[in-house]
Symmetry: C2
Subunit: 190 residues, 2 copies
Amino acid sequence: MMIMNLPELHIGLPGWVHTFLSGYPDRIPDMEARMKMVIALSLENVRRGPVGPFGAAVFDEEGHLVAPGINMVISENNSSLHAEIVAFMLAQKKLGDYDLSGGGQRRLALYASTEPCAMCFGAICWSGIKTLVCGAKSEDAESIGFDEGPRPVNWVSELNDRGIEVVLEVCREEAADVHRRYLEAGGVIY
Amino acid sequence: MMIMNLPELHIGLPGWVHTFLSGYPDRIPDMEARMKMVIALSLENVRRGPVGPFGAAVFDEEGHLVAPGINMVISENNSSLHAEIVAFMLAQKKLGDYDLSGGGQRRLALYASTEPCAMCFGAICWSGIKTLVCGAKSEDAESIGFDEGPRPVNWVSELNDRGIEVVLEVCREEAADVHRRYLEAGGVIY
């Protein structure tokens, strides 16, 4: 007879994220300023390590933060907890809706400090966001050894075809610099 | 000043899964029998609804269940909680390792009642499993309106290239029948 002691998952952002966010205004109207916040979040995540050098956040059109996300693969022993997935999960929990578009009523954006990997690309399709804004290019992450996985070559147009606008290379250099700092700090590449 | 009441995620399988599992032997040595268990799990998930008609499970080589997974998108308001992701998260939590291969020491298999969507395909790449066994074909799910998303056309060989063996169409008809029952029961297609 199969008797299992099944674990439960308790996933919450560490306390320092709250402190970090309290240093920002209630609303961030500018696209670049939103990306800078996400990059700063990924950098702080590296400083607090050991964790992946990636950050993300869901914003509404006016620039209110719906939910942030940080890479928690190592800290939570969970290969699916990329920053993008964490941000989606928290935003959906907060709004009480697995569809962030609310059936077409909301136009939310995901800001990601690096272009999405194969898994996060798929997750974006199911999330209900209407805009994806990326910082570093995939090749920036790959140049230090990270693997973005087998994404469709035309991943941007695939998202466009699903009604998701994609903006690339917003503050790319600053975002890629976080990868390099991670490597210098002896971060694990997984 | 940005002050956020950030939610926490508490993700656990519903109590009926424990009861369901207690009806099975401690070890299921046969591949088809393992798939039949996963299909029965997906069917029970449909009966308990409203949830997606998909199930998954991580097994070790001897046929011991490491962790099951059910689709919890609707019940948890979380578009990333496909059955495969839930099974990975629970298995990784149980083993205390984000790499189910344990750095190459373990050879675990994911059984999925339906071929993976674009997101789960990516998640499989990062999970550390060594074998993927699928029941229904993607077109079976798509024929009732589900969307598998923009997966690479050569997704099987992409997994093979990463050292993951793929076995398709194990108990395909039984698995696809669960999709039909879901549709008949008035299930939401998302």
